[in-house]
Amino acid sequence: MVDTKRLQEKAKEVLIRDDVRRLIGWKRGTYGFEAAPTVITDASQVDQLIFDATCVQNPASFISLEEKKPVPRGAEPDTRKIAVMVKGCDSRAIVQQLVEKAYGRDDVIVLGIPCRGVIDRRKAMKMFGDVTPGNVSLNGDKVAVEVGGEKKEVERGELLMDKCMRCRYPNPLVSDDLLGEEVEKWADDEFADVDEFEKMVPEEKWKYWEEQFSKCIRCYSCRNVCPMCYCVECVVTKMKPQWTRRSTDISENTAYHIQRAWHLAGRCIECNECQRVCPVDIPIMTLNRKLTRDVKDMFEYEPGVDAEAEPLLACYNPQDPEEYIM
């Protein structure tokens, strides 16, 4: 794991530079099993920064969130860099944003953190109830959690996010500085959950999704939190032309979810943020993972791995599969 001292020292070192505007990292959360993402601009604030298994949020989502105000006449635009702390999965978001030229490599300073998994709030709630833990640490195959002054050890698989149990990239794929020893990869992704879902017949699938989609309250949290959804104007909230209406009926909800998944085809880096923030527990990643699997199978493409790659849907191969075309 990462030494908090080293992390804070490095953050300080970065923040006192003249060409750095802000740093995005994690601080201790006020409640429950999740840390809170934080943006700090001053080197005196670095002692709030932490990294442990509660740091689930993806800081790469915040890089391009700033409102782009017009620069006053005569003034120079602010071209200072943004420093960001990333885990392995978060770093893929940065790679994919670089692929899409959301910003240049010189505009960000990436502080990579090798990660051994983060805690799933829902699993933790089920296990410990509505509590705020003390120290949380990962030792080998166990997670040690301090709850109510008592130290408890749990198997990793019971407490960590599902994405962590099949993590292929625990080490950051892009970083200017690595804040810790690289960790060894412990799993591979076979897309067993997608295969399992595919066994259903269409009627069953629709029945399942009809139930899931009708829960949706269209808060757009999944879109807002997504590191790949950084368009200034989003097609789902656009009024002219209005592609999806705002009513929360099954028709519009289905259209919204298909649109959202579709816009992430060949772009989703599986940070699982959309599913984590969903207030009504829609299994959004099931749609995303289906597309990820198909993209991998059909086009041998994996998003967020190679910063030099072309975006999937902005390139083509004359030999692309076309078995369903008449």
Binding site: E203, W206, S251, Q259, K290, Y316, Y324, M326
Partner: protein, 143 residues
Amino acid sequence: MSEEFEPNIVAFLCNWCSYAGADLAGTSRMHYLPNVKIIRVMCSGRVNPLFLLNALQQGADGVLISGCHPGDCHYLEGNYYARRRFMLMHKLLEHVGVDPGRVNMSWVSASEGAKFADVVKETVEKAKAAGPMDQFRRRQLNW
């Protein structure tokens, strides 16, 4: 009285090949099924998958996207992009439980009037087999 279900098909045809192919089918007085409602677009690469969702929401039972054969695109590569796009959309809709027969794609050149008639026939047959699209059709509000 039971009438056979006649599906509504929305066809997005590219201006340079498929639309001309449909025109040829017409001028050669070939019979093709009247279920198809044609929308002319400049290229199959112009068709946004949102068009397809919107068509299904607003009363289409099947959608056909047709463009030039690979390599023959008027804009050189538009149909290659469309092919990738709709391949993925096809898979996604299948995953959500929409009958895969509702989304069809074909390559029809300007000289293939007969093929166009066949493609329309096949599309209508698939949509008939899938039945009326009632999964996520937009509710009509009368106010």
